[in-house]
């Protein structure tokens, strides 16, 4: 007998507005229906009413967490159309800001995943060490989010030499703490039991759905826009792509954690190689044509397409965030999970929309519980597993 468990229009973990209808038989999920569109703001409709430079700020506000990715992809698209050469120093600065953003985004995800699993200490610790990172971004760019750094032809602000010791100090701190917490999280047997072999997204499904970012790299699909279509400084510095074959949630968590360490290395390389110079090319007009820009955001490939008719405003602007492809793949990933696991699976693609709040679990038209109920369900399961592993009191776990 099928029971429908609607999760939404607000996801309890990520606080994202999506409506998932899980079709459940007994304890197992057998199907999924996804409704989105609760945050459709009509960016593609607004873009042609603003000038080229103003659109950079419009797209920056598509997302708060990956707020640098959208302007980055957009300016790459315009530079592709107008064939603008970006100065070398600007490419390094773009890479540095983008990688700092990646670390902060992955920390955010790991923290929330920890909270959902019942590991609230993990949550607090990861977010506590996210603060020096945000302070660093504030001193470089002027704000903790919405950095206003990208400009067609370069960047708006320079990284001053006197800031570099502060950057290096923060990077050392981040590297030390990330390594510490990564080992702590990955070594924990209960976390492994919760995440391993759960939310299986087979490689063939990953390719068929066109998933991107850590969701793909955790399923053995070795794609990364930074390696395959390198722009900015990604082609000039040595770094490794993190790919795991296991296709489960644990693989995705490993990809995100290890990518943070890789990002720290990349920023160090950029700082080493950066030479003094111009930070922006002179741009006079955008000739008629079309341009495509795509870069690797923390969640996957962000794709921008613009078309110009030679005037000072775009004619068509298409934005595709990575969650568009990743969330659709939940249909394949969530089959066979329990309800307690399903909510974590739905969050493992790190969906990025914006924030609203309402969730209900209904059975036979009776409301059983709300979002907190689902979180408690998941935390209870962790407790059960912990007892089974003989590890009822882990220092990482506090049930707030």
């Amino acid at each position: 007998m099928k029971k429908v468990v609607p999760i939404g229009p607000y996801h309890p973990l990520q606080e994202e507005p999506e409506f998932f209808k899980l079709q459940v038989e007994g304890e197992k999920v057998v199907g999924l229906e996804i409704n989105i569109g609760y945050n459709h703001r009509g960016h593609e409709y607004i873009s042609p009413t603003m000038t080229w430079d103003q659109v950079t700020f419009l797209v920056e506000r598509i997302c708060g967490i990956c707020s640098n990715s959208h302007p980055f992809a957009y300016v790459c698209a315009v530079e592709d159309c107008a064939k603008i050469e970006v100065p070398e120093r600007a490419e390094y600065i773009r890479t540095i800001v983008d990688e700092l953003q990646r670390i902060h985004s992955h920390f955010l995800w790991v923290g929330l995943a920890g909270h959902f699993l019942g590991y609230n200490t993990v949550w607090m610790w990861f977010w506590r060490y996210r603060e020096p990172l945000l302070d660093l971004l504030e001193s470089i760019t002027g704000n903790r989010n919405h950095y206003a750094m990208m400009k067609i032809g370069g960047v708006r602000r320079d990284i001053k030499d006197e800031d570099i010791p502060a950057i290096e100090k923060t990077l050392n701190l981040l590297e030390e703490k990330t390594a510490l917490f990564t080992r702590a999280v990955l070594d924990d047997p209960v976390i492994r039991a919760r995440l391993e072999n759960v939310g299986f997204l087979r490689t063939e499904d990953a390719i068929a759905y066109g998933v991107l970012g850590p969701t793909a790299r955790g399923s053995g699909v070795a794609i990364d826009v930074r390696k395959d279509h390198p722009n900015a400084a990604y082609g000039w510095i040595p770094w490794d792509m993190i790919v795991f074959d296991e296709c489960d949630l644990f693989a995705k968590a490993k990809v995100r954690l290890l990518e943070c360490l890789e990002s720290v290395k990349m920023i160090r390389e950029c700082l080493k190689r950066m030479k003094p110079g111009e930070i922006c090319a002179e741009v006079h007009e955008i000739p008629p044509g079309e341009g495509i820009g795509h870069i690797e955001a923390p969640r996957g490939e962000v794709f921008h397409y613009i078309r110009s008719d030679g005037s000072n405003m775009p004619v068509r602007h298409k934005v595709r965030a990575p969650s568009y492809m990743n969330v659709a793949s939940n249909v394949a990933a969530v089959k066979g999970c329990t309800i307690a696991d399903a909510v974590l699976v739905l969050a493992s693609v790190d969906p990025c929309y914006c924030c609203t709040e309402r969730v209900m679990v209904v059975e036979d038209h009776k409301k059983i519980g709300d979002g907190n109920y689902l979180i408690q369900l998941s935390q209870k399961r962790t407790e059960t597993l912990a007892k089974r592993f003989g590890d009822p009191e882990s220092r990482l776990r506090t049930f707030i």
Partner: protein
């Protein structure tokens, strides 16, 4: 490295299979291919099924010459983006759906259907994706003059 195979193909192979296609190389990384709308499913199958080239997204635009749909395929092994362009006449806004065999194209075809009014024949679930439930179905926001 398991999973994806991103086999390269040569331009000659493509030109032999689709002689009417017009290929424009805007840069070393951007290739635009103009095909007739009747051929889009075969071109997409050539790129995705035979050569494993990832489908990135599709872009629909309302232009003077009809609805222009660009299907963007990202060739990750070579670092090239292939954008396949078709024109769909406004009086007959129909094209065969890729979503019938390519899950990655399902959502974007639903979006183009509701925002531009293009009918994708054979799509398994052409329900609106982004607009509100009570949005009038004959109004298409991305059409010019609406």
């Amino acid at each position: 490295m398991s999973g994806v195979s991103n086999r390269s193909f040569e331009r000659e192979e493509f030109e032999k299979r689709f002689p009417e296609a017009k290929i424009t190389e805007r840069s070393s990384r951007r290739v635009y291919v103009d095909v007739d709308r009747a051929q889009i499913s075969e071109v997409a199958a050539f790129l995705f099924k035979e050569h494993g080239i990832r489908f990135a997204i599709a872009t629909g635009t309302d232009t003077r010459n009809g609805f222009e749909i660009l299907y963007h395929f990202a060739h990750d092994a070579r670092g090239v983006m292939y954008s396949v362009r078709i024109f769909v006449p406004k009086e007959d806004p129909k094209v065969i759906s890729l979503g019938s065999w390519l899950p990655a194209a399902r959502w974007i075809e639903r979006e183009m259907h509701e925002l531009l009014g293009i009918d994708f024949e054979g799509h398994p679930n052409l329900k609106p994706l982004l607009t509100a439930e009570d949005w009038p179905r004959d109004r298409h926001p991305l059409r010019r003059g609406e």
